[in-house]
Symmetry: C2
Amino acid sequence: MANQNPHQNDVVLSSRIRLARNYQDIPFPTMMNDVWAAESVRRATDAMASMDDADAYRLLRLSDEAPVDRQALVERHLVSRDLIRRADIAAALIRQDGRVSIMVNEEDHLRIQTLMPGDQLETAAALARSVDDRFERAVQYAFDEQLGYLTTCPTNTGSGMRASVMLHLPALTMAGQMGAVNQGVAKLGLTIRGLYGEGSEAQGSLYQVSNQITLGRTEQEIVETIGAVCKQLTDLERRHRDALKERDAAGLEDQLMRSVGIFAYARRIDSKEFMQRWSDVRLASALGLVDLPLEELDALIYEAQPACIIQKAGKEITGQQRDQARAEMTRAVAGVRG
Amino acid sequence: MANQNPHQNDVVLSSRIRLARNYQDIPFPTMMNDVWAAESVRRATDAMASMDDADAYRLLRLSDEAPVDRQALVERHLVSRDLIRRADIAAALIRQDGRVSIMVNEEDHLRIQTLMPGDQLETAAALARSVDDRFERAVQYAFDEQLGYLTTCPTNTGSGMRASVMLHLPALTMAGQMGAVNQGVAKLGLTIRGLYGEGSEAQGSLYQVSNQITLGRTEQEIVETIGAVCKQLTDLERRHRDALKERDAAGLEDQLMRSVGIFAYARRIDSKEFMQRWSDVRLASALGLVDLPLEELDALIYEAQPACIIQKAGKEITGQQRDQARAEMTRAVAGVRG
């Protein structure tokens, strides 16, 4: 088994940093008129022009995007749900590789987000800092010596940083441990949510761990805390995987491989079943039962979401056609064409 | 789609002929002592020695066989359940290819059985006649000019022939048509039973159609009647398969291919699920959705039965180990090793 788990990717899907920033001399988005909103976008694009890799970014004005394309951006975690709620004034600067996206006129003027595969919170933070530094040279941020970066919502004031990791915790979920995990994490001032943030259920045994508040904590403290919890949960999940195998390896293998079989052969998969099967297939792959690249499986979880499927189809399609398209994707990844 | 359906094997699994015969001067098995039973076996082996292909047969004395091996013979349809109930006095002469088996001291002294793949009742009947002719030259049968061949049970008297075909009728079953089919068949004096005869449920949508009585009907009439019903049911099943495809081709394909996926990837399959999945997989193959040889699937249905699995394992194994061995077999046939 040559699974080296680069960046703990047997458990950790991705690491994300988000910095909330505002211009000093423009009313915050909640108070902003259209003129200020346009000015905010203009300043962001000007600042972007000074970046070394400016060519790698594209500017999306949300008002130019069709609803399905906006939704697809959310599904791919390139922009937030909040951003598309403000589609009339919002924009995003998105780097080709999806690792950097700068939301403009979300809750704050600027939300600099970086996204890295696996457990790479430090790298994501360094990348966010470098983008932030370039912007800071081009624009005047709202900053208070005592409070730090000023934000629309007081919970973001200070470093303005939210750090999060996306974890795949199927063994902890099967063992009914997620209630206890939730409680433990809450005591540290952190939250656990599902794939699509607040209110989204933990489908596919996917959990995002992030800090709730930023005020009074340095960026380094936030990254370290999330990193430490990420490591603990990774270890705990691995121990529970070992325990599952010890208790009934054949039963576990049967369950997981049946889902691989469904991925490889089904002709229709609805989104709910998809998430359940996906979790099994990812665990099968992480355990070395099948040789399916984790990166492909992780990309699939976004591409198999409804809006992404419709976007790819290039036209409005029925729910049943979506289920068929989803099954075509799982077959392509599971590598058998029947 | 290069499916030529040789011998209508998209619907017809096998054709079987059984001739009931008794020696003129030995009490019928119900009245027979051990000495006569031994004499009955001796005469059968002597008669066999005169056959051109005598070397292709082996003599099994049921009393020498372990219970699991006896059961495996039943599962493979090489001997009847009734024969192993009389294991103390019973024997069987079985041709290597399994197409001919002569049971000795079952309900009658001799039961000559021939078994051919697909719709080949005429061929099976001709083969049975040729064996019968050779035996008739070597032994004196109990025969009455008026009644024909005399048998223990009066329903078999006359030609002593039972003809049967094994049909796979998944579309008729899904359409809820089997009640009506049963009634229609009963009106012709025929019966429909499951894979393992009287009382066995129609698992896997497999149905045996056979004549109930032989008295007053010639061999030719019996073969023709069963042949005609076989053809009718085959046509009816095909029409229902077409109707299923017309109504929801994608839904049907999804159902069938999921079972192919389970066959290809599961690590444990119990016998009940096996029969359900097998039926789907066979239909998928008959419809050309997958390229799995029907002969291999048809052999699997016998080899995946409990006693056959234990026999192959060469030792007593648990139910769970049987389920694992069964899944190994389905994986070997479905052609993917995960």
